[in-house]
Symmetry: C2
């Protein structure tokens, strides 16, 4: 069918309009909030994302551990924009931005913009540790979470038929690098998995052998929270049997052995790397706009340094201000507030050519869960820990999920675990094959569409 | 870590026992029911399955269409056997059976048996149509269902940026081969997707272009049901806008063009092949035991022809009897009844050396859904169609699911669709890449474990 291979499209087929066009790259927390605010503005909004869904990142670790199904924490982007007649969604991988032409080049063609918003978020930062990059698993994408789940269960199945105790221990040991919320939550969930699920589902494994280690380079966990809460989190993790090693750097990993800066060697077949993120700036932007960690310098109006009509919001934006001299934390609330602000600002710009008051972040607090009935929070100017913080955490997360059905699904899963002390989804839907890892996850973009 | 690469396991590490050992290959409907019946029998049961979960095949098409999450229709096998102290589960791919040694060879080692039960089920039969095998998608496994979902959505996204109407039509056209329950249910679900979801989520697609074709070689759909119900099913599908072509064979497919035996050519980028199944007999069994369609000839006692201690149940077993001269239909109720019978029979064998009365199948009826409020059923000796049959279908399927949480999840999804007329999970969690298809699905077994 030669005719089909020569499909002549070269643009991304947008409806003709006289309105100014706002192109938004990324449908994460920031992008989604921005688009919501632009629904009634006199602009055409074009949303580009390489996935066709928005993901609720804070619960990704629960997918990894098998506590909730992946479908429950994602929401199709087209569904979000359904009632907005001025919004067009295109699933596309951005290749480069050409500010001099005011164009974005993607794998499905180029699109001109009047205003461009970069909301591409962040990616795992391996800090040039090649072995780690090759053998560890990240926890930023839904398919990575599913890979962790598969690989963990595959290792347990292999351990069940392994007689050599040392090998078995490596197969059942987990190292989590990074003592931020993701690392702490994952380590806590793994510890509960070991306590409640392993003895019942894997009676053949001597579960005293199973080691869970959390490695953090700083001197304490959860450095964004007050020291007293960090200490509490560490205490809870240790009482759950997690080995917490602070002030130690992870230096190398070959798929079997983790080397730490204090000389320790840990044997583990699963290393989850959540010890660093970097901004995911698309290529084509001027060098002076890009910070060493990949984020984009923006001014008080979220404009990318040196560019007129290009904005950045969320994790990828680096706004150095008095309160946050090294930029805001890379978390959802910042992205949402920036999206909201920019939605108002662009509407005003288009309508009157004026700027509204510059963006200011209001810190509403932070939450992190550690285990059953154990969480820490800073909310309304107070510190919370223990069961109250845990209920707050559960409440906030259920209500932040998009879609009634997702809320119910997560709620049902949680109620199930709450009473049965177990996770329900220990299934290996797709085996994780280390040799194919890079093909699995990011190959989609580079493989030719037709063959 | 050279030491880890030489792990010396060669058996599959089973607990020592003096009880006779029953090895069951396959944790489908038959295998699961059998193991449940053997929980209190004086035997050691070893269950082998290449997946670590049982799947509820009748709802697989709902995963394909995005109506329920994959996690909701699978149940971890280890969880099923948790309270059965005489049952051991091993995730293993069977390589061959050696009846002369009474051993099963697997990718994780060999296991001796006293009794062997082959419950390996069925696989898609492509009838040596090479093009179809290469380019069509089957619907027998969970990952195939997810591939259909991804591929369908990827094609729709591509169609949204395609200006050539002929190409766009091929991208948005679906051909389903096979007018059995799976084909009918999938075609009906696709038609409802076109009717309720497409206009809202893909306003840029002229949805009059979208064609759904169901091809069946026999003269009518659902040949296992009375002709009046087949006619009703066809009528409902046609009123939903499905082109039904009976008495026509699908001859070839190159990924773009379907060729039918009456000379028709259909252009479609997605062909789902549910037009044939074959028994999935493991290798190593005597040639005279294997029927041309891959099933295993068994006698009234479900013993595989020519072998003493080897049994077969479910889709893979071919029991030619007076009522069913060409064997029982390859459906779940047969497998479940055979598993139940064999559980009782083996218990009696081990206890007293006697045989119970030979297996007889009791036909309790059949159900197939076509669309919202439209289904057909033969139950309690009566024919049902329309809303009553549909409610019966929903009821039976919810209650047949394993696990309280799965029931709730499917129920919540269905209630959601029922009132909103839409499917909730249109997400491409992993892109389907045709070039990698065989690596995705079955490669796991052939890729070396260590690298």
């Amino acid at each position: 069918m030669a005719a089909f291979d020569q499909c002549p499209y070269s643009s991304i087929c947008l409806p003709a309009t006289r309105l100014p066009r706002v192109v938004v790259i990324g449908g994460g927390f920031g992008g989604l909030e921005l688009v919501r605010r632009l629904r009634r503005a006199p602009v055409q909004v074009v949303v580009l994302d390489r996935n066709n869904f928005h993901k609720f990142q804070p619960l990704l670790y629960q997918v990894a551990i098998g506590a909730v199904p992946p479908d429950a924490i994602v929401a199709p982007l087209r569904k979000q924009f359904r009632r907005a007649t001025n919004v067009v969604f295109r699933m596309a991988e951005v290749q480069r931005i050409a500010p001099e032409e005011r164009k974005v080049y993607t794998d499905i063609g180029a699109v001109r913009y009047d205003y461009l918003v970069v909301a591409t978020g962040s990616a795992t930062n391996f800090f040039r540790l090649e072995g780690v990059q090759r053998h560890a698993l990240g926890l930023k994408e839904v398919d990575e979470a599913l890979d962790i789940r598969s690989w963990m269960l595959q290792n347990l199945e292999e351990a069940a038929v392994t007689c050599d105790a040392a090998v078995r221990q490596a197969l059942t040991s987990f190292v989590v690098a990074g003592g931020g919320p993701t690392g702490v939550e994952l380590a806590g969930a793994l510890a509960e998995f070991r306590k409640y699920v392993l003895p019942r589902d894997y009676p053949e494994l001597p579960h005293g052998e199973v080691r869970i280690t959390l490695v953090e380079g700083a001197e304490r966990l959860l450095t964004h929270l007050p020291a007293s809460l960090s200490a509490y989190a560490r205490h809870v993790l240790e009482s759950l049997g997690v080995e917490v090693r602070c002030g130690v750097l992870l230096q190398d990993y070959d798929g079997h052995e983790v080397r730490l800066s204090d000389g320790t060697r840990l044997y583990a077949r699963l290393l989850v790397w959540s010890a660093g993120v970097r901004g995911q700036a698309p290529s084509g932007l001027p060098a002076e706009a890009i910070a060493p960690n990949g984020r984009l310098y923006v001014d008080d109006y979220l404009r990318v340094r040196g560019l007129e009509r290009v904005f950045a919001i969320g994790d990828v934006a680096l706004l150095e201000c008095a309160d946050y001299p090294r930029g805001h934390p890379m978390v959802a609330p910042v992205a949402i507030q920036q999206g909201r602000w920019l939605g108002r600002a662009l509407t005003e710009q288009v309508r009157s050519g004026q700027w509204i008051a510059p963006f200011r972040y209001r810190d509403k607090g932070a939450l992190a869960t550690i285990g059953r009935h154990r969480a820490v929070a800073v909310l309304w100017g107070r510190r919370w820990k223990g069961p109250i913080a845990w209920w707050l955490w559960a409440f906030v997360h259920i209500f932040s999920l998009i879609g009634f059905q997702n809320r119910i699904m997560v709620f049902v899963s949680w109620v199930g675990h709450y009473f049965s002390y177990e996770k329900a989804n220990q299934v290996i839907i797709r085996k994780f094959i280390p040799a194919l890892r890079h093909r699995h996850t990011r190959a989609a973009a580079s493989v030719p569409k037709e063959e």
